[in-house]
């Protein structure tokens, strides 16, 4: 009995010491972790709209947000729309910038992906993402094999059609969701 009490005591003590020290360390680290996450989002939101200097966060519904982005003169420069979907290896997180009239894309950044390195992983590289600069969004973005011939087309990455299609699908989903939402909102705010 006495032995069991001693063993219990030692295990409890180990747990408490470990728990308390981790809690103390976490208190120091957590603000930094949150700040890093906030900074990553801030940089991405501004990076996909050229000339952007500031933005305001808008709630689309209970769970999703998008960003209104403004240039140095305080004029609306576009919208940054974050979205996610399944790729070949797992979830893809990206953010796309669009012009205020939703006619063109101003840039795309893949924030997170676990696609195959060297193949689908190329969606994370500049060469692929540059295709979204000035891309026409109407009627919808199309994925093509080989070189693009129309200005609403994105060439698929060789050997990574699934990953490329996943990005295009996420983008089309975002446009479909936000275009009516935001354009309608704008009309009610300043009827023309």
């Amino acid at each position: 009995m006495k032995k069991i009490a001693m063993l219990l005591g030692i295990l409890t003590l180990t747990g408490v010491v470990s728990g308390v020290s981790l809690a103390l360390i976490n208190q120091k680290v957590e603000p930094r972790v949150l700040e890093q996450q906030a900074r990553a989002i801030r940089e991405a939101v501004l990076a996909v709209v050229p000339g952007a200097v500031q933005f305001t966060e808008k709630k689309a519904d209970a769970e999703t947000v998008y960003y209104e982005v403004f240039d140095a003169a305080g004029k609306l420069a576009g919208y940054s729309l974050p979205g996610q979907g399944m790729g070949y290896g797992g979830q893809i997180n990206l953010i796309i910038g669009v012009t205020p009239d939703f006619k063109k894309s101003t840039g795309l950044k893949v924030l997170e992906n676990v696609e195959t390195p060297g193949l689908g992983g190329k969606i994370g590289e500049k060469a692929f993402q540059a295709g979204f600069l000035g891309l026409v969004l109407e009627p919808a973005v199309a994925l093509v094999k080989g070189a693009r011939t129309k200005d609403n087309e994105i060439p698929a990455i060789t050997g990574a059609t699934i990953s490329s299609r996943a990005v295009v699908n996420i983008v089309n989903g975002l446009i479909k969701k936000y275009r009516p939402l935001i354009l309608k909102e704008n009309q009610t705010v300043n009827p023309q």
């Binding site: 001693m6 063993l7 747990g15 976490n26 972790v33 890093q36 195959t116």
Partner: protein, 201 residues
């Protein structure tokens, strides 16, 4: 050299060659396969393991007289988990891209058998200084082993080392080397090479 420094030296060198973790102990293989696609990730993993191994070896050794045999394993695991959580928090706060690249493999250091193995086989039976040197030796052994695998895979898979392109445009990257099969191929080849070298001796 007196006997004490001789033992210390032996404890230090043991993990560096004779007992080098992935090749001789055949421990810590999960991380050796999973995060060695690039030399940078190898380095980060080896340093994280080094911190945990050194911390837990010293703590286990210092506490060895107070911890009864029957509960030593749970105590080891709690100590190891504490150090692993510290590393995980540190990487998330200061090196978010690295933390993302290594994904679940940082928390998984908890079950890296090198650490529990050294706690059980060495630190629980030896003084603090010896345990420290044992941990440093094995950490350095693990470091060069992971770097070797990481450099081979990155060089053949991307044509680069630590992210710097070293092979020219003529080089056609072997994509398979960055994929999981490449890890097995490299580990197998390196293991074979080491067995060959030690048989010659």
């Amino acid at each position: 050299m007196n006997e004490k420094t001789a033992t210390l030296k032996k404890d230090f060198l043991f993990g560096l060659w004779q007992n080098v973790p992935p090749f001789r102990l055949m421990l810590g293989l999960c991380a050796s396969l999973a995060v060695t696609g690039m030399a940078r990730n190898s380095l980060a993993m080896a340093l994280s393991v080094a911190f945990v191994l050194i911390g837990s070896n010293v703590a286990v050794s210092a506490l060895r007289r107070f911890v009864p045999d029957s509960v030593r394993i749970p105590v080891f695991v709690v100590i190891i988990a504490t150090f692993v959580t510290i590393v995980d928090l540190f990487l998330r706060g200061w090196f978010p891209p690295l933390s993302k690249a290594m994904g679940p493999y940082v928390p998984l250091i908890i079950v890296n058998c090198i650490i529990l193995g050294r706690a059980e086989a060495f630190a629980f039976k030896n003084p603090v200084l010896n345990s420290l040197l044992d941990a440093v030796g094995h950490s350095l052994g693990y470091l060069w082993a992971l770097l070797l695998i990481g450099c081979i895979r990155e060089l053949l898979g991307y044509g680069s080392l630590f992210g710097i392109q070293v092979l020219g445009a003529w080089f056609q990257p072997w994509v398979i080397m960055i994929l999981p099969p490449g890890a097995f191929l490299t580990l197998g080849a390196v293991l074979g090479f080491f067995n060959l070298v030690s048989r010659r001796r």
